[in-house]
Amino acid sequence: MLPDAKIPAGPMAEKWDNHKFDMKLVNPANKRRFKIIVVGSGLAGSSAAATFGELGYQVELFTFHDSPRRAHSIAAQGGINAAKNYRNDGDSVYRLFYDTVKGGDYRAREANVYRLAQVSVNIIDQMAAQGVPFAREYGGLLDNRSFGGAQVSRTFYARGQTGQQLLLGAYQQMMRQVHLGKIKLHTKKEMLDVVVKDGEACGIVTRDLVTGQVEAHSGHAVVLATGGYGNVFYLSTNAMACNVTAAWRAHRKGAYFANPCYTQIHPTCIPASDEFQSKLTLMSESLRNDGRIWVPRNPDETRSADQIPEADRYYFLEEKYPAFGNLVPRDVASRNAKTVVDQGLGVGPLKNGVYLDFVDAINRDSAEVIEEKYGNLLQMYERITGEDPYKTPMRIYPATHYTMGGLWVDYNLMTTIPGLYAAGEANFSDHGANRLGASALMQGLADGYFVLPYTIGDYLAPRLQKKLVDTDDEVFTQAVAGVQDQTARFIGIGGTRSPDHFHRELGKLVWDYIGMARNATGLEKAISEIKALKDEFWADLRVLGTADSLNSSLEKAGRIADFFELAELMARDALDRRESCGGHFREESQTDEGEALRDDENFAHVSAWEWNGTDQPQTKHAEQLVFDEVHLTQRSYK
C-alpha cells in the first residue's frame, strides 16, 4: 500500500501556509536533543544542513567528496528560476507553477509544484543576502534572462556558473555552522546502507574511502540529498562519481522508487568522439537562442559545412516547429536530433551529431557580440574538439543530463520509510516527466532551505522521548556486516574485466533500449540482456588492491552493482507505462505527426515501485494525480 501523500486540504494558494501552521513544532531548547543525518552536500544537502544547524538541531553531514564544495550541483551553468516578475512581463507564482506542471507533461503533483513556485522568490532573496554574485544591470538591480523556451524572463544567473555560485553560497552557510559546532562534517565517507528499526529510519552505515573503515552512525532522522542516477547510461553530463547507491540502498530497505523511466536527455552536448570517452560535456542551451540547428539533406554529403548551400540544408526544428523553432523544449529538440541521425543525416566523423551554426548570428550581430554572450562556452568547445566554432558550425548531440524519477516522497518530502527524507534530484517530486531549464537549482534549494526545515520538525516533535539507537544494536551490526561482506565479495571475485568495462557495456544497453525512444520489444530485450550482463559482472569482475585504502575500483564496483538493478527497474517501468510523456517516449504511443501522445485515462499517475528482494520483480503502486488547477492538453510547439 502506498502511504497517503499528505497533500493539505484547501485552496492551492493556501495549502503550504496552512500546512506550516498545522505542523507540530519542536521547542527551541529541545531541538538540540535531536540528531539529523544529512547525506550529500549539493544544493539540497548543504542548504538543509545549514538551516537545521541554524535552528539548533545537531547535524552530521556526510559526503564522499574530499570537500562538500565538489558536489555536482556545482556544474549547473544556466540559471535559477524565480517568480519575481522583476521584468514586469506577466510572470507570477501561478504562471511558474503552471509552466512547470505543463512542461513536466502533466505528470507532477500540483501541490508540490505550487509550493516550489511560491518559495522560489525567497531563494533569490536568501542567496543575494549570502553574497551570491548574481548578474546585475548598470542600475545595480538583478538581471534576468529567458531560458529554455520560457515566454517570460525569470531566470537569474551568475555568468555561466550559476550552480557553482549557488553551491558555494550554501556550502559557506554550512561551513559557518561547522565553525559554530552545530554541524559535524564527514568527508570522504560514502553511505552504503540505511538502517531501520521498528519501522523508522535510525541511522546509516558508511565506508571511509581513505581507511576502508565501515562505520555505523545513529540519528533521529536521515535526509538523503544524493542526486540523480544519470550515470546509469555510463556516458552522461554527470560527474564521474554521481551514482544511485544511497537512494538504491534505501529502496532495498523499503523506500519506494518512483518513475525511474523519467530521464532527461539534454539536446546540446558535444557528441562522443571515441570508445575511450569518459563523459559528455554539456553546452548551455542558451546557445539555441542564437544558433541554428541543421543537417545536410543528403546523407552522402561530403562537402564541408560552409560549402553546403541553403537549399541543401535541413533546418529540421525550424521547419517542423515554426512557432518555437530552435527553442522547442528539451525533450522535443532531443528526439528530433535522434530522428535525423537515425535517418543517416548525422554529421561529424562518426555521423553522430547535428550542426549548431552561428554564421547567421555572426553576420547579423558581429562576432564580438556572439563572443560577449557565449565566449566561455565556445572556448570550452574549441578546447575539447579542437575545432573553431566561429568558423565551423559546432557539432552537438543529446546526452543524459537529469533524472526526474527518484525516491517517492510525500508532501513533507518523507519517503515510505518514516524518518527517511529525500531532497533535490534524489526525490521524484516536482518535475513530472520532463524538467524545465533552470528549475533544478530552484528545487534543490527550495527543498533544503524552505521545505525540510519545517516538515522535519513535524516528524520529530512527538519523538522527544525517543533515544538514539545504539550503534551496537543488532540492526546496525547486521548492516555493517552486510557492507563488509559485499566489499570482500567484490575483491574476492578475481575475474578478468574491470568495473569500467561493465559500466560501459551496461550504459550501451540502457542508451539503446531505454534512451530517447523506447518500445516493448526493445524493453523486454533490455531486461534479459541486463540480467545476463549482471550475472557476468558478479562472476567475472576484477577489483585489484585492498579494502583498507583508497580504492576507486572498489567504489565503482559497488555503484555499478546498484546501477544494474536500477537499469532493470527502469526498463520495467518504461514497459509498464504504455504512453509517451515528457522524457519518456514510447514509439507505440505517438500522434500522427510523431509527437509524444499521453494516455491520461490510464497513466495520469505516479508509479512507485516496492522492493521485494534480490532478483524478485518489484511491485508497482500507483498514486493517482489529481489536477484541480491545470487543464491537461496535448503540448504543441508548432
Binding site: 565538489r70 556545482i74 553574497g131 545595480g140 564521474m240 571515441d274 532551505y449
Partner: protein, 257 residues
C-alpha cells in the same frame, strides 16, 4: 578517428600517507589526441588492470573544469602546459608523439598524499570555515533588489568568486602559500555591501587560519599563472589591505583581551 600518440609516463606512486613514494614508468601507446589528459590516465589504468596491476589513483570528478577535484603536476607545472585550463580540460593534442610526461601529485606540506596522485586539501575548507561566509540565516533576507550593487562591483566579486578551490595556486607557489585562494574568497565577500559588517573579522580570521597551514606569500605570481580560472594576483593586494586595516579595527581594549 583521430591521430594517436605513443607516450612514456613517469608517474608518482605512493601506497599511503606514510609510505615512501617512487616514480614508476609506464608506456602509453596509441593514445588518441582527442582524449583528455584524464582519459589518457583511464586508458593506462585499463591496461594496468588487464595486466593484474593495481591502477593509479588520481583525483577527478566533473571533468568539465568546475568542481576543482582534479589537478596534478604535469612536467612540473600545476595542471600542465595550457593556460587557464584544469587538468580535466587539457587534451592530448597539446602533446607530441614520443613525449615523456612526468606526473606528480600537488606538492605542498599542507596537502599530504593520500595515495598516488591524490592529496588531502582539507586545510582549504578550514580557511572557509574560519570566516569565508556572510552570516545570513535562512528566512532573514529582505527583497534581493533592496540592495542595489553596481555592475562593476558585482562583476569584480564574480571574478574572484570563480575560484574552484583546486589548490593549484598552492602547488605552484614556491612557498606553498594559499594567498590567492584566501584572497579570492575575501575579496568576493568583502567587496559586496552584504559583506561589510563582518569585513575585518573575516580578513583577520581567514588569514590567521591560513597561516596555521600554509607558507607566506612573497609575490612570485606563480599562483595566477597556474590558476585554471586565471584569478588575478591583484586580489592578494586587496587581501593585504583589509588584513592590515583589520589589525587596527579589530584591536581590543585591554579589558576585552
Amino acid at each position: 578517428m583521430s591521430n594517436t600518440l605513443n607516450l612514456t609516463l613517469n608517474i608518482w606512486r605512493q601506497d599511503g600517507p606514510n609510505g615512501p613514494g617512487r616514480f614508476e614508468t609506464y608506456k602509453a601507446p596509441g593514445i588518441p589526441e582527442d582524449a583528455s589528459f584524464l582519459e589518457m590516465l583511464d586508458l593506462v589504468n585499463e591496461a594496468l588492470i588487464a595486466e593484474g596491476k593495481v591502477p593509479i589513483e588520481f583525483p577527478h570528478d566533473c571533468r568539465e573544469g568546475i568542481c576543482g577535484t582534479c589537478g596534478v603536476m604535469i612536467n612540473g607545472r600545476a595542471h600542465g602546459p595550457e593556460r587557464g585550463t584544469a587538468t580535466c580540460q587539457l587534451h592530448m593534442r597539446k602533446f607530441s608523439d614520443g613525449d615523456t610526461i612526468d606526473v606528480e601529485p600537488w606538492r605542498a606540506a599542507a596537502f599530504p598524499v593520500i595515495r598516488d596522485l591524490v592529496v588531502d586539501r582539507s586545510p582549504l575548507d578550514a580557511i572557509i570555515e574560519a570566516g569565508g561566509y556572510i552570516s545570513a540565516p535562512t528566512g532573514t533576507a529582505q527583497d534581493a533588489n533592496e540592495t542595489p550593487i553596481p555592475k562593476e562591483v558585482a562583476d569584480s566579486a564574480m571574478d574572484a568568486a570563480a575560484c574552484i578551490g583546486c589548490g593549484a595556486c598552492v602547488a605552484a607557489c614556491p612557498n606553498s602559500a594559499a594567498q590567492l585562494f584566501t584572497a579570492a574568497k575575501v575579496w568576493h565577500l568583502n567587496s559586496l555591501p552584504q559583506g561589510q559588517p563582518e569585513r575585518y573579522r573575516r580578513a583577520q580570521n581567514m588569514v590567521e587560519t591560513m597561516e596555521l597551514y600554509f607558507g607566506s606569500c612573497t609575490n612570485h605570481g606563480e599562483c595566477s599563472e597556474a590558476c585554471p580560472k586565471e584569478i588575478s594576483q591583484d586580489f592578494i593586494a586587496y587581501l593585504n589591505r583589509d588584513h592590515m586595516k583589520a589589525k587596527i579595527f579589530n584591536r581590543k581594549l585591554a579589558s576585552q583581551r
